[in-house]
């Protein structure tokens, strides 16, 4: 079922990523981790559909926010990150997916692992954790190319309303900030062992990113003793214009 969303706010997250907030009149509410499909139709009737994770915390204001990374050869993302203006109306389908979700009733430790724009649904979980004042202990391991590519930086690093932010660890794969004490490189077994929840605490793990990233991060979690049953993944492919 397609619904109409009216663009109510735009915010640049990085040089290539933009958050778009919609108000959707008949929005039934969503859970952190769910996604929406966005459909663009051109004057000649050609339409393109892409999936984007919802970044906004569940709310009663019928507000849906996504963050879109502009892909150079993309069919949809250049339009969404450059042309869309406040007041525009777009077609949305959702909320979608009932598995890659975090609910405030969950009290176990939560391990989030993001690769690049895979941070988006995990951010919704962090925001939901905060707005629900959940006591669940969250950790985030965020692999990102360089400091300028980090989404939601201010929000990730600062506590809000005295609720402690999750413990956030960055893994910079190409360039780190000046004076960065850690090494530069991909997530590996040492980083997983030193910064993620020990497997004996039985955390639920959510991993989101490009397919190859998700495969390797999930394998590292299993090698560290986590049960595959406790690992939920969302891959978005190398070329798929998602998130």
């Amino acid at each position: 079922m397609w619904r109409v969303g009216t663009v109510v706010a735009l915010r640049d997250e990085t040089a290539t990523a933009r958050s778009i907030a919609f108000e959707v009149e008949d929005w039934p509410g969503h859970l952190a981790g769910q996604h929406v499909d966005v459909r663009l139709t051109s004057a000649d009737g050609y339409s393109a559909v892409r999936s984007y994770s919802i970044a906004a915390t569940p709310n009663s204001e019928r507000r849906v926010e996504i963050t879109v990374e502009r892909l150079p050869d993309g069919e949809v993302s250049p339009y969404l990150t450059r042309q869309v203006a406040v007041g525009d109306r777009l077609e949305l389908r959702g909320p979608l997916g009932g598995w890659f979700v975090w609910r405030p009733e969950q009290s176990e430790p939560i391990q989030l692992i993001a690769g690049g724009s895979g941070i988006v649904p995990l951010m919704a979980m962090l925001r939901s954790h905060r707005s629900a004042r959940s006591a669940a202990a969250f950790r985030l391991l965020y692999s990102v190319r360089e400091p300028g590519a980090v989404y939601y930086r201010g929000e990730l690093d600062a506590p809000v309303d005295a609720v402690p932010a999750a413990k956030v660890t960055y893994a910079f794969t190409r360039a780190a900030p000046k004076g960065w004490p850690g090494r530069i490189g991909r997530i590996d077994a040492t980083l997983v062992a030193s910064t993620t929840w020990p497997a004996k605490l039985a955390p639920t793990c959510y991993v989101c990113g490009p397919t190859s990233f998700v495969e390797s991060a999930a394998a590292l979690l299993v090698a560290a003793g986590n049960s595959p049953e406790r690992i939920r993944t969302e891959r978005f492919g190398p070329t798929g214009e998602r998130r």
């Binding site: 039934p28 499909d37 559909v49 997916g97 009932g98 890659f100 397919t211 492919g237």
Partner: protein, 95 residues
């Protein structure tokens, strides 16, 4: 079909919602070929062809295909032995 094109079953939620009123990605399903039981969201999904193909994460058999051809939508699911949902899942996603 390359490994890099593989998504998770949860990515099929949108296309499946064109046919089903309830979210099936959180449902438990059994592979008719090898008998593996898991959530549909954990199947291996390929969306690079003309439709959606879900394969068993264990034996790679095709579980479900959803293809749109012309004015027709075709759903084939002979690779699925069953889908099982809790009633709370049905109420939650009822729209």
């Amino acid at each position: 079909m390359s490994e890099d094109d593989c998504l998770d079953g949860n990515a099929a939620a949108g296309p499946l919602s064109t046919v089903f009123a309830v979210d099936l990605t959180a449902a438990e399903c059994q592979c008719a070929h090898c008998g593996a039981i898991d959530r549909f969201a954990r199947t291996r999904l390929y969306m690079t062809g003309p439709g959606v193909v879900a394969r068993c994460a264990i034996c790679e058999s095709v579980l479900l295909r959803l293809v749109s051809a012309g004015q027709r939508l075709l759903l084939e699911a002979r690779g699925l032995a069953y889908l099982s949902l809790e009633s709370s899942q049905i109420q939650e996603s009822g729209q």
